[in-house]
């Protein structure tokens, strides 16, 4: 069994799975339930001057009957008083001394930041997360992503916090910014101990076609919300990788955004996340999901002979490069396995209408295939014309059978050549420009 315990910028927790700041981390009661279920840490629902919420507050993107592929909220920070929140943090810490409890804060002035940081420490919090990320409601008041979107402002506020903080400080980044690394660098310059990302993305999920209101609807009106859940994972991974790869950032990262299971978590870790945080998946299924996350990550680490999270952390970062460093002389084509093909022809129509027209439907006899795949004997069978296949990968993505279509390498016999190499060679006259596709 691998050792899942982590020391994240000085914050220790029995495992890297933390409950993200949000509805599941609202109260001591929920925190007890989370830790009982197995979560290693929890970032408290953001504490600030209490706000008033509207109803309703959430909406979702469902796809093909799958609920909550994406999730949207117009909720604000904690609607409970700071006194209650800090008292409950203290209670929780007494009962769970080895679990990580992080106070998430959003304040309006230097004085209030100082005050709240001190009260967090007094309550026994293991760390502080600065919420510069909330894209709605708070920024209209000069907080949340309004801060996160301006690196210089964020840097100044972070440095106020660092003036009094004696426990690790994590800056939570908003994805609603052109260059995420600018925000990460600002945190670094201000002396923060770690960053966490991503917070939610500006969103509107839908328009109700009967009422012409978007949802969530509050007396016929809606508002721009914050988007999260499984659909945002690719965006979060992109930003986490960018920060991890930036030599000017180099600080611990807590990965957030669309994590639902151990696989998602492991992917964030491979991109350098030392801990991961989960909100939507808990709102969907409850704290119990962590059981499989712990078990699955353990099994994976064992299988890969990794002994601790550190062995996985960052393993994939260097395998992402900029496009111009990719090898133009590497060629793959799609190949269909007719033994597992079920004859849906989705590959055919995808390539035909959406790619490069290089799959043929052929009579199985002409392929020496006996009766051919699928339920209807003698029905025509898809076959890739490999000479014309550009290796785009579309067919393998649409194929409903795992591993039925594989991309196989076709040796070109040419040495690797990147776009940059190519440009240089053309400029020096060493080679002629590659003719455009006909």
């Amino acid at each position: 069994m691998a050792d899942l315990s982590v020391n994240f910028a000085g914050i220790r927790s029995p495992n890297p799975f933390w409950v993200a700041s949000g509805p599941p981390s609202n109260t001591a009661y929920q925190t007890h339930r989370a830790f009982e279920a197995g979560w290693g840490g929890l970032v408290w629902k953001t504490i600030g001057t209490p706000i008033v919420n509207v109803s309703s507050r959430y909406s979702a993107l469902d796809i093909g009957g799958q609920r909550m592929v994406g999730f949207n909220n117009i909720e604000l920070i904690s609607d409970r008083s700071p006194e209650v929140n800090f008292r409950e943090i203290a209670e929780v810490k007494k009962r769970w001394p080895h679990h990580a409890v992080i106070a998430s804060l959003m304040c309006e002035s230097r004085e209030q930041w100082h005050d709240f940081v001190r009260r967090s420490m007094d309550a026994g919090a293991d760390g502080i997360e600065l919420n510069y990320g909330c894209p709605h409601g708070m920024c209209e008041r000069g907080m949340g992503s309004a801060v996160g979107q301006q690196p210089l402002v964020a840097e100044r506020i972070t440095s106020w916090v660092m003036e009094v903080a004696k426990i690790p400080v994590i800056v939570k980044l908003t994805p609603n910014i052109t260059d995420i690394t600018a925000a990460a660098r600002a945190a670094k310059r201000a002396g923060a101990n770690a960053i966490s990302l991503i917070n939610t993305i500006n969103s509107i999920t839908n328009v109700n076609l009967d009422t012409f209101t978007s949802e969530p609807a509050v007396r016929g009106m809606s508002s721009h919300g914050g988007y999260c859940g499984p659909a945002v994972k690719p965006i979060a991974l992109n930003m986490v990788q960018s920060c991890a790869a930036d030599p000017d950032v180099r600080m611990p990262i807590s990965g957030i955004g669309g994590i639902s299971n151990w696989r998602d978590a492991a992917e964030f870790m491979a991109f350098g996340a030392g801990t991961v945080q989960v909100c939507t998946a808990i709102m969907h299924h409850g704290f119990r999901i962590v059981d499989d996350m712990i078990e699955g990550l353990n099994a994976y680490l064992d299988e890969k002979k990794m002994r601790r999270i550190d062995d996985l952390c960052g393993r994939a970062v260097a395998n992402v490069t900029t496009w111009e460093n990719l090898d133009l002389n590497f060629r793959q084509v799609a190949r269909i396995n007719h033994d597992t093909c079920i004859g849906c022809n989705l590959c055919y129509i995808a390539c035909e209408d959406g790619a490069h027209q290089c799959i043929d439907l052929l009579h199985p006899d002409s392929l020496g295939l006996d009766l051919g795949p699928g339920r209807v004997a003698h029905k025509h069978v898809p076959k890739v014309r490999e000479d014309d296949c550009v290796g785009c990968n579309l067919c393998t993505l649409v194929c409903p059978v795992d591993q039925c279509i594989k991309m196989v390498e076709v040796p070109t016999g040419k040495p690797p050549m990147t776009w940059s190499d190519y440009q240089a060679k053309v400029a020096s006259g060493e080679m002629k420009p590659i003719p455009p596709h006909h």
Binding site: G64, G65, D339, I342, G343, C344, N345, L346, Y348, I349, E352, Q357, D360, L361, L362, H363, D370, L371, P373, G374, R375, V376, A377, H378, K379, H380, P400, V401
Partner: protein, 494 residues
């Protein structure tokens, strides 16, 4: 003893309620979302009317039930009946690719019912008569599925169509013959109305060959379609066959469709002679009308029954008993009423003939006997209407299966009287094909059948239409397995 009804009205109608339940909205959405939306999908190939199954299922998934119903009815005017009565396990659902991913196939029949119920419940009309008619007149003889299929297609192509039907009500066996727990006659009548809405005239109570001659038809119409179906049930030729409790299964089933259920006379101990789907229907409906013990007597073995596997299962589920390898040799007559049936065991001779085993005779007690040993071909009727029409050796009207054309240029044929007796959906498909045959003949135009557009086109393989060459998945599967077994010494993915 004379027979009496057994059950009360409530009991009988509860027993005869639909066995295939409609889908709830959410259920339909979830099921529709499972469909892969195959291109040139095998389920389309397996549908004798070529319904674009993935297209209508996708419309259900997006909440466009009206569009789904339109896709269905454009291909198959009896789409609502077919949703309930088609042997989908050997047709579309049997062909679904999900079998090969070791999953349950899509419930195409129930989804089709969902879409057609949606418009029927709301009185929505999705088909419209054509804006222009071409003034050409076509007569259709018989308002069964074949006749309706042909008439609906012709009407949409702009023809003036008159259907002649000898019965009081239209619909053929779809109105009078389908097991009551699958389909209620009213739905079949509603479908005939749908055909009328397209501008078709249906004249019931007119028998061609009796009230109007074939010659008169040829005089008044430019083309004729014959969808005569099959005739009465075959006789057994047994002593005692004319006793009042010995009935043709079709007559018994017809009564169920015309009389109130609690007035149908049924025996306590019913013997059904035959091993086909009609025999199963007679047996299961006897059980549902209160018979205590129902036995199907079949002269060959279980594996040779012509009833579909799932129909056989249904009979077993209804506690029907089976007496295989046995044939009737007489009826036990007590004071002019049936008291039992005399049976004898059968066996196969060396040269493959069925013979009675001497000395194996025995009596099975019963008070009702239903005969379900096939229907007569309509040779006599055909001779009477069109004496020159060519009839094949097996008694069906000879025709080109792709166009329904006969040896007489302006006469076309389809359905049971041409295929010897298959399913409703085959009859509709053949009627439709004949409509295109007629159109080609009268207008010199070959109507383009619905296909999914493809670069390779029909010849290249992507036909997207079961109309061209409907397949029956179970037959092909057997062939497929057999081929695999011989070539590879075993199936690789049975």
């Amino acid at each position: 003893m004379t027979l009496k009804p057994i059950l009360t009205a409530d009991e009988a109608s509860a027993n005869m309620a639909d066995i295939q339940l409609p889908m709830r909205q959410m259920e339909a959405r979830v099921e529709a979302n499972r469909c892969l939306y195959c291109f040139d999908a095998p389920c389309i190939h397996a549908c004798p009317t070529g319904i674009d199954v993935p297209a209508f299922i996708r419309k259900i998934a997006s909440g466009n039930e009206i569009g789904a119903a339109k896709t269905i009815l454009e291909a198959n005017i009896l789409g609502a009946s077919c949703a309930r009565i088609c042997p989908t396990k050997v047709l579309c659902e049997g062909a679904c690719v999900l079998h090969d991913r070791d999953e349950k196939p899509i419930e195409i029949g129930r989804l089709q019912r969902h879409a057609t119920d949606f418009i029927n419940d709301r009185g929505i009309h999705v088909l419209k008569p054509p804006a222009k008619t071409n003034g050409k007149k076509v007569a259709v003889v018989g308002s069964g599925p074949a006749g309706l299929g042909c008439a609906a297609e012709l009407a949409q192509l702009g023809y003036a169509v008159t259907i002649f039907e000898k019965s009081k009500l239209p619909g053929g066996l779809n109105t009078y013959g389908i097991a009551f727990y699958k389909l209620k006659p009213q739905l079949s009548l509603d479908e005939a109305e749908l055909v009328k809405d397209l501008g078709v005239e249906i004249r019931c109570g007119v028998e061609i060959g009796r009230d109007i001659t074939g010659a008169e038809l040829q005089r008044d119409f430019q083309a004729v379609f014959l969808g005569l179906g099959l005739g009465n049930g075959n006789q057994l030729g047994l002593p005692g066959e004319n006793l009042p409790e010995v009935l043709d299964a079709l007559d018994f089933i017809e009564q169920i469709h015309t009389d109130p259920l609690h007035e149908i006379h049924v025996g306590h101990h019913v013997v059904v002679i035959g091993g086909g789907n009609t025999a199963v229907d007679a047996a299961t409906q006897s059980v549902r009308l209160g018979a205590k013990r129902v036995t199907m007597v079949y002269r060959r073995g279980e594996s040779q029954m012509s009833a579909y596997e799932f129909e056989y299962e249904k009979a077993k589920h209804d506690s029907v008993h089976f007496q295989f390898d046995s044939m009737p040799i007489g009826v036990v007559d007590v004071q002019g009423h049936v008291a039992g049936i005399r049976l004898a065991r059968t066996r196969m001779t060396a040269d493959g003939k069925l013979e009675m085993i001497p000395g194996s005779e025995f009596t099975q007690e019963c008070d009702m006997i239903l005969k379900a040993v096939g229907q007569e071909k309509r040779i006599e009727m055909v001779r009477k209407i069109f004496p020159d029409l060519a009839v094949a050796d097996n008694g069906v009207v000879a025709r080109d299966p792709l166009t329904g054309a006969t040896n007489i240029a302006h006469i076309f044929v389809g359905g049971d009287c041409a295929n010897g007796g298959r399913e409703v959906v085959n009859a509709v498909g053949e009627g439709k094909k004949a409509a295109h045959g007629i159109h080609t003949f009268l207008a010199g135009e070959y109507a383009t059948l619905p296909t999914q557009p493809s670069r390779v086109g029909v010849d290249g393989g992507a036909t997207g239409c079961g109309l061209h060459n409907p397949i029956r998945a179970h037959e092909l599967e057997e062939q497929w397995r057999a081929n695999r077994a011989t070539k590879n010494g075993g199936t690789s993915r049975g």
